[in-house]
């Protein structure tokens, strides 16, 4: 029982990170019908921004800040205008292909210009084991990860629901046409979504890299998890992505110790197929109507 509790807490910690990646993915889809096949690489790359900044002599915390800012600029603003902008009116397929190409470019750039080897990444909190309840020992780093991701998600939820800009963003996501009539600066809201997505991905990157090490190929698994979390939770809901992320994190951890390490990756995928079979709108999603 205590083992189980330990696994669940560890799972929630990674799940929080998955949720960050999945929320960004959902936001992009809602506001601009962009399925970002490079989302995993968006989570892989910021760790290398901060490693590069540290190589230039910056201390750890400022390097993290630089990584977040550079990500927002390159993976947010530049992604919006250079990659997505010219393709938005062309329909979904060119955009899908272009983001697949972008994922290859990001992966190969890191491999060719930084390193093909896995890089050690420092943790925010020390990896010291603390005892929460009798018999339940978790590492401080895990609690830190969970806390940071929950605070980030909480902050985002407050921003989306509690501020004027956030509500305008929601309006844009739900119905851009009506939002525009009501005077919402739709274009700017879409840009904000891209910047927020990049920021969330950078947070996820900083939190996950101490656990999995920073490596150019990390994006493949991370991207897959972000997809699965977003769809399982409900493609059109931010809270769906949060629930999906946490659920996948816990399942992933339980599968690793109770099923087999070889098929650990298969469990979320099977869950995905089951959800599409029996509850296609996702666990927390609502059905979408089609218009002629």
């Amino acid at each position: 029982m205590t083992d189980l509790l330990q696994l669940v807490i560890a799972g929630l910690a990674t799940g929080g990170i998955y949720a960050l990646a999945a929320i960004g993915f959902t936001l992009l889809w809602q506001t601009s019908q962009t399925i970002n096949f490079a989302q995993g690489e968006f989570v892989m790359v910021p760790a290398f921004f901060s490693l590069a900044a540290m190589k230039l002599g910056l201390p750890f915390l400022p390097a993290l800040l630089v990584a977040v800012l550079v990500s927002m600029l390159l993976l947010g603003v530049a992604f919006r205008y250079v990659v997505v902008g010219p393709l938005l009116h062309r329909g979904v397929l060119p955009l899908v292909i272009s983001t697949i190409a972008l994922s290859i470019i990001l992966k190969e750039t890191v491999k060719d210009f930084y390193s093909a080897e896995a890089q050690v990444f420092p943790t925010l909190l020390p990896d010291r084991v603390v005892t929460l309840l009798p018999g339940v020992a978790v590492s401080l780093a895990q609690i830190g990860v969970l806390a940071v991701s929950l605070v980030t998600i909480g902050g985002l939820q407050w921003f989306l629901g509690g501020t004027r800009t956030g509500r305008q963003m929601q309006a844009t996501a739900q119905n851009p046409g009506v939002a525009r009539i009501l005077g919402v600066p739709v274009e700017r809201m879409i840009l904000y979504t891209f910047v927020i997505n990049a920021g969330l991905a950078a947070m996820a990157s900083i939190l996950i890299s101490p656990i999995y090490l920073a490596k150019f190929s990390n994006g493949e698994t991370l991207g897959l998890v972000a997809f699965v979390a977003a769809i399982v939770g409900g493609f059109n809901q931010v809270r769906g992505a949060i629930a999906g992320g946490l659920l996948i994190g816990v399942l992933d951890n339980l599968a690793a110790s109770y099923v087999s390490t070889a098929y650990r990756q298969a469990i979320p995928l099977i869950l995905l197929v089951l959800v599409i079979l029996f509850r296609p709108q996702g666990l927390l999603g609502r059905r979408e109507e089609r218009a002629v």
Partner: protein
Amino acid sequence: MSARMSVIVGLVALVALALVPADLTGLGLPYPGLKRYGTYILTLWLVTAIAAMGVNLIVGYAGQETLAQAAFVGIGAYLTAIAGKHGVPFGLSFVLSGLATFVIGIALGFPALRVQKHYLAFVTLAFSVLCWLVFRNETAVTGGVMGLRDIERPFVFSFQLRRALHFYWFVLVIAALMTVVLWWIVRSPWGRAFTALRENPLRAESLGVDVRLYTLLAFALGSAYGGMAGSLYAPLVEFIDPSPFALGPSLLFMLMVVVGGSGAFLGPFVGAGVAVLLPEWLRAWETWYLLIYGVLVMIMMALAPGGLVGLVEFLVRRRKAQP
């Protein structure tokens, strides 16, 4: 192009392709043909093009996204390799590969196509990774990361196609037949329904086209083309391991078809040609090859979403417009 014209052009292309790697010095012509490796690359191009034709049917005609074509190729390849070890003749395993991948296509597509447009992409994404896990982990059957070696080349009657050139001709005949079948399909009323579907699914539905059934059959058939390509791939390379059937190669199949020109009949051949030949040309920059390819694809999506075939058509039309 009229139907008769297409047939003539197709036959000329077939004869030309048959002669490209052949040694013609025996006929008094100063053309030594291609060496073993060149013939191998040409065969690989045909096999890749067959799988890409399947993707084109799914992406270009039915307007769906598939991210599992390499997995279907893998299923065909492993099925053929394993059946071959148990003495099953190639012809039978070829047909079985096609049937198995068709049935899997139906099973995957049926639930996915009930929902929204992009769910097929997500289901095939999951399927692709699951297949790769099975190929890698079920060591007793698939050989795991060590792979399966010494896959036999097929026999035609009692003659084994050991020489690269003979196997190339064999693949060429199969590829030609599969091209004709697909050509017939996209020109049949069934195929025209696809075009209606891609242009406006809701209108097609209201005109009585059973959108789901048509899309499902297109996906299953496209996947079967992948399986049959895999069945040819195994004896071509004579050794298979899980890496060419992972998610990455499946994504490359999508890029290939769009680079060639999705929805253009010749697109898959052009795209497969670029995908097979570019790494050979860029051999000196081996590590850079994928990076260059990615950048080219992105530029192309922004400037010429119709792919290379679309670009050529556009240039030809413009030349005709201004004499």
